[in-house]
């Protein structure tokens, strides 16, 4: 490691910081004003890059390279305005999580639209005219184009600051960021403000993407990876703060650059490949910042919302529900005999049951405890890897490993939960996401122990469980037992306390309930049950890879819970079954299953904001004319 190498890495960091800032600034502005966590922001970034590729390809001969490249920005801005006016405007009054789900559906639709337009191959654009070469820096070569990027970040910060401080529009944006309801009460035209902010944010994301054209190829995986990075930047900087986003982009990019510069560290007889741990480093920075400054570097404590999502008191199951639960269980238990000729049915049914148990555990923490977890797959993965490693490395019998799976997951939940319950809302969601990414990163990069990206193979159940149909019965008992247990806890004093802590932490403390401890334990229970699902999953597949704890799985679980309805107890089970079944059937029949899924989700969000089961329940209550039934 020489000084010149470090210098080049630091400059690299500055260039990445600028790129990151283009995406994060827009995301932060949009969140500040509309309070929407826009998952699709990275998709606009990706689209910007693809669009710039086509524009430069077609028009650079006529209007020149730069105008063609920069045209992608306004075009994305226009698309953003359309999306806001046609779609998001309808979900502003929906619960926060449904908005998230809607933007995630948008991610799926945009991804497949891009696939349809540009194909699956990565596309590399031409070099920028005049900036294609490299300059000499202490004997090392540094791309000239990156120098331009380094300059553009601060320029954008300056322009945005002027816009926000010196114009009437900027004043309105700042007012709405501080207190949206007050700004509305003072007569600010919200529809126009929201659309313009969304368009500006989308344009910046599009520009950020377009500017990457000479630097990196357009690829379909850029949407989630860029929005993940942007989330971290925005949360570290403080939601809604543009200078905060700039500072955070600098901090994170430079920490990552330093990791690369350090290479492999040797000490205590161990070789630590720091350069491979950039992902872990990024999320560690975020975890440290959030624990020290819960609202980010330059963020302020959010003004508490005056609208609370209310839900009706939980009703213990009546004889009808209990009877139907027994019937469903018996039907499922006889499935191996009913489907004797179709072995795939039990295999799919195991997947459905595992998904249902996993979704039920996420609902437990999200619904009644009110703690939004975006990284629930971490506990699923800890259960799966815990069980697999105990069998493969420690030589445990499979049965013992399956029992230990939830303990491994619960241990992880205990560790993260201690930090997590001290945060709330978006910050909590982001910390859970960060933790899941750290666990994923370690698993992915620790080749020697976890098998790295290849994962672990040969994770088979004990001989007496090897038959698919017997294994199905085991899964059924575990899933039914788990779901029943969670339900039982919800009606126990502790379950009351979970809901009480969500409804009013102040009142809880005033009647002697330690809210943090209640939420911590809820976290551990939810993690443990997710671990059971993970263990069952591992032995049903025979092999596992880091995907079991990837962001994708966490988001799937969120979709399942919200699809079924977060305010009902059976909702997540139904949501999990419908989602997994849809994924299984649609994925086999079309290349564009993501777009189809996205479309279905959008339709559901717009038509049934309470989820499917919530919708059915409200309909039944309406028929019976039950007073106060509509939990809005």
């Amino acid at each position: 490691m020489t000084p010149s190498a470090v210098l080049v890495q630091l400059l690299n960091g500055l260039a990445s910081a600028s790129s990151l800032f283009f995406v994060a600034a827009g995301l932060s502005l949009i969140f500040g004003v509309t309070r929407i966590i826009n998952f699709a922001h990275g998709s606009f970034y990706m689209l910007g890059l693809y669009l710039a590729y086509s524009l430069v390809d077609r028009f650079s001969a006529h209007i020149g390279f730069w105008p063609a490249l920069l045209l992608a920005g306004p075009m994305l801005g226009l698309l953003g305005a359309l999306v806001e006016a046609l779609l998001l405007r309808r979900v502003y009054h929906a619960p926060e999580l449904l908005q998230l789900l809607a933007t995630f559906a948008l991610v799926l639709v945009i991804k497949d639209a891009t696939l349809w337009c540009w194909g699956a191959e990565d596309l590399l654009g031409p070099r920028a005219p005049g900036l294609g070469g490299a300059i000499d820096l202490l004997g090392r070569r540094f791309p000239a184009y990156d120098l331009l990027l380094i300059a553009l970040g601060p320029v954008l910060l300056g322009l945005l600051t002027l816009l926000l401080r010196r114009t009437r529009w900027g004043t309105l944006v700042r007012a709405a960021t501080q207190d949206r309801e007050m700004a509305g009460a003072l007569g600010v035209n919200q529809a126009w403000l929201f659309t313009s902010v969304f368009a500006l944010g989308t344009m910046l994301a599009g520009l950020g993407g377009a500017l990457q054209l000479p630097r990196e190829p357009a690829s379909l995986s850029l949407d989630l990876s860029s929005v993940g990075d942007a989330f971290v930047v925005v949360v570290v900087g403080g939601l809604g703060s543009v200078p905060g986003a700039f500072l955070a982009a600098l901090l994170i990019s430079e920490v990552k650059a330093l990791c690369v510069a350090l290479g492999t560290l040797h000490g205590f007889g161990l070789a630590l490949p720091v350069s491979k741990l950039t992902l872990v480093a990024e999320f560690l920075v975020m975890a440290v910042v959030l624990v020290a400054r819960p609202w980010g570097l330059m963020g302020k404590a959010p003004s508490s919302s005056r609208h609370r999502a209310l839900e009706a008191p939980l009703q213990p199951s009546g004889p009808g529900l209990r009877a139907s639960a027994v019937v469903v269980f018996l039907l499922l238990a006889s499935l191996p005999w009913l489907s004797a000729g179709a072995p795939y049915v039990t295999v799919l049914a195991v997947d459905l049951l595992v998904a249902a148990l996993f979704a039920a555990s996420l609902h437990f923490i999200m619904g009644p405890a009110g703690l939004h977890s975006f990284g629930h797959a971490a506990y699923f993965g800890l259960g799966a890897y815990g069980a697999a490693l105990l069998v493969l490395k420690a030589g445990w019998p499979m049965e013992a490993a399956l029992v230990a799976a939830p303990l491994a997951a619960a241990l992880g939940a205990m560790l993260l939960g201690w930090f997590a319950v001290r945060l709330s809302g978006v910050y909590l969601a982001m910390l859970t996401l960060a933790f899941a990414q750290i666990v994923w990163g370690i698993t992915f990069q620790w080749d020697g122990f976890t098998g790295g990206s290849n994962g672990l193979t040969g994770v088979w159940p004990a001989a007496w469980l090897a038959d698919k149909q017997v294994y199905f019965l085991l899964t059924l008992s575990a899933a039914a037992g788990g779901a029943w247990g969670l339900r039982r806890v919800l009606f126990s004093p502790f379950g009351y306390a979970m809901r009480a802590g969500r409804d009013s932490a102040l009142r809880c403390e005033a009647i002697g309930i330690n809210v943090l401890r209640v939420q911590w334990l809820a976290f551990v229970i939810a993690g443990g049950v997710a671990g059971i699902a993970g263990g069952l999953f591992a032995f049903s597949k025979g092999s596992i890879s880091p995907d079991v704890m990837g962001v994708g799985r966490s988001v799937d679980a969120l979709v399942m819970v919200l699809l079924g309805g977060v305010q009902t107890l059976s909702g997540p089970l139904v949501g999990a079954v419908v989602f997994t079944w849809l994924q299984d059937t649609v994925a086999r029949s079309t290349d564009y299953w993501r777009a189809l899924l996205g479309g279905v989700i959008l339709l559901l969000v717009l038509a049934f904001p309470m989820g499917m089961v919530g919708f059915l329940r409200d309909a039944v209550w309406q028929l019976r004319g039950r007073p106060g039934g509509g939990a809005r």
């Binding site: 126990s492 004093p493 809901r499 009142r507 106060g628």
Partner: protein, 258 residues
């Protein structure tokens, strides 16, 4: 007779501003003590120092053999101090009776019971508390659909669940119509007598204070400027000056908007 709560030298500073500047007062058992004062007098700060939401910079507040200063809200509750909030804090997604049962469960130390059903836990006692505040007819309703006056009554029932010795009520009648205000205070008076407790309340409505308090303490700019029976406070020159400058009195202000 020794006082139930004895506050001495209570102090709290915000930056360079002494919001509460060494105040002393006491509450006797069976007493309804009103704390009044113009805006910025330090009422809310004093209140939040006593319920543990703010840390004091100095002073003591002895309740029985224990100093409340420095304890957390939930530890103060364990010492037998219940409280209600200016904007009522209840559990919106629990039913009315479940709200009270939650408090009873906490008082019984059963919050971390994960297995037994909570539904029938001390249901009779919970209904009894609801009867005490006139809410027995609405026990099964979701808390979120109650009228605001009823939410306030429910909050009172919750606060009574661990048989407090002292009840702290922050603007108990804020947001209520005049008839409701007096009803609530008559109810409070009855509960104080029946249960042998004491109440400290802050209040903006002078009507309520003069009609229902046994004794009044008056704060202005962080200091205690007067203490006495309502009739004495009404005529107290320092109080009149603090509220109105000079030349006006509570009598002449009657009928003016609050």
């Amino acid at each position: 007779m020794t006082a139930l709560l004895q506050v001495r030298g209570l102090q709290r500073r915000f930056g360079g501003n002494l919001a509460v500047d060494g105040i002393d007062f006491h509450i006797d058992q069976g007493e309804l003590l009103a704390m009044i004062g113009p805006n910025g007098a330090g009422k809310s700060t004093t209140f939040n120092l006593l319920n543990g939401q703010l840390r004091a910079d100095g002073g003591t507040a002895w309740l029985g053999g224990r100093d409340l200063i420095g304890l957390r809200p939930r530890e103060i509750w364990k010492q037998g101090v219940g409280r209600t909030f200016q904007i009522a804090e209840t559990f919106a997604s629990l039913s009315v009776v479940e709200n009270v049962q939650m408090a009873l469960l906490s008082a019984a130390g059963r919050v971390f019971d994960l297995w037994r059903a909570a539904r029938d836990f001390q249901r009779e006692q919970a209904l009894g508390l609801l009867r005490d505040v006139g809410m027995q007819g609405q026990a099964e309703r979701p808390c979120s659909v109650l009228a605001y006056g009823d939410v306030k009554r429910l909050e009172l029932a919750i606060a009574l669940a661990n048989r407090p010795r002292l009840l702290l009520m922050d603007e108990p009648t804020a947001g209520m119509a005049s008839a409701e205000r007096h009803e609530l205070m008559v109810l409070t008076r009855r509960l104080v007598a029946e249960r042998g407790m004491a109440v400290l309340f802050t209040e903006h409505s002078m009507d309520v204070v003069f009609a229902h308090a046994d004794r009044v303490i008056v704060l202005a700019r962080g200091r205690l400027i007067a203490t006495g029976r309502p009739a004495e406070i009404r005529e107290h020159p320092a109080v009149q000056e603090a509220y109105f400058g000079t030349g006006l009195s509570f009598e002449k202000r009657r009928g003016a908007p609050q």
